[in-house]
Point group: C2
Chain length 219, copies 2
Amino acid sequence: MNLSIAEENYVKAIYKLQEGDTAVTTNALAYELDTKPASVTDMAKKLKDKQLIDYEKYKGITLTAEGRKTALQIVRRHRLWECFLVDKLAFSWEEVHELAEELEHVRSEKLTNRLSEYLGNPTVDPHGDPIPDAHGRMAKPRPQTSLDQANAKRLVVTAVTDQSVALLAFLNAKGIRLGTQLEIVAHYEYDNSIEIKMKHAPSLTISEQVAKNIMVRPV
Amino acid sequence: MNLSIAEENYVKAIYKLQEGDTAVTTNALAYELDTKPASVTDMAKKLKDKQLIDYEKYKGITLTAEGRKTALQIVRRHRLWECFLVDKLAFSWEEVHELAEELEHVRSEKLTNRLSEYLGNPTVDPHGDPIPDAHGRMAKPRPQTSLDQANAKRLVVTAVTDQSVALLAFLNAKGIRLGTQLEIVAHYEYDNSIEIKMKHAPSLTISEQVAKNIMVRPV
DNA sequence: AATATTGTTTAGACAAATCTAAATAATTTA
DNA sequence: TAAATTATTTAGATTTGTCTAAACAATATT
Ligand SMILES: [Mn+2]
Ligand SMILES: [Mn+2]
Ligand SMILES: [Mn+2]
Ligand SMILES: [Mn+2]
């Protein structure tokens, strides 16, 4: 099936929003893609015709098996290009999403697989998200929790859930990246802020909002 | 100026066809882009509006200074990606054009310049074509002639003008690539075929058509 | 010079992707 | 449950890039 760039972006967005079996709503998809609900309805009809989604008027959207397979291929390309940009071209993690958003649309299995191999077949991207392999399989991520819910004291950063430039740049400024080890020094109940301590640095206090978006596991 | 992919492909094709100051004809451009003359006329009006080309009805098309600059940026991206695919991902020279045709449309100066640097700022692409630098300047290619016109006996292959998969695959099969050294053993006047000899290989005879598309200079 | 051929443009149409505004369905509130 | 609100769809338009068929211009042939 030959998909346009717009169609690919829709399929990927549906995949992103579809947690488990919950149908994706028209409005949510419009918001995610920065477009209008009317446009989503139009596209939903096209993707249904192409059998990439199940869709009934007013009932929301879910990917078919075929659609899920397609989505995983796009996600694979996106995350591999992000790795390339960070690992080989020394881009910072907040710069790569936008570029990968375009590079992901070059559809060549050979290119994708060669790129993966060249990068050492990475299993996570620069934001800690898992990379599907050539068959669409993702390594089951090791158990992780958001920093605000962590109970162990010594932790390592495994992923970031909000990948906005604003948060990623903030984390850069504070020296927090994937693999960073830290200890929880204190929880402040007033605003649920959390004081953390990293090696070779004074402790710092981060807001609940930041903590919620940092994923960690016990070291 | 924000150009669509279609517009970029037109600008690049005009650049390719515009040798010196000869205006590019509607039909030639349609053939090059595998489209119809009527479509070219439509696009010519748009590119004229955007001041990328000079165009008067029935008088053909030439790039403006702005258009030339745009074309050189696209050519730069195209050739850098070709280098990447060959040098880093081990693609063969006949596979890369099609992929670069898509990758060239990712418009990011930062990406382009980082890629160039990563590749060691190459000055020629895998087909021997020169790569414009960040300012659009190309190294003046060292003097070269087509193999059928060469008079020196000991030669080195510097470029290939016909870059069809068919010719490139033929040259692969015969062990002829950029940098290959060869001697002219004989010219056969009957069909203008040329017998050549490369190191560590028996001599072989190639047709005039092949010879015309191999660029060489004295070693 | 008249005619034929070739090259180019125009007119009118279509598909893809989007939009706004209006209509309709589903859900929540009173 | 009736009214109000929210979510979604439809109708109709627009832009981009393309096409075919017909008209027109430039060039070549007799
Ligand atoms: Mn994208
Ligand atoms: Mn990512
Ligand atoms: Mn292209
Ligand atoms: Mn090339």
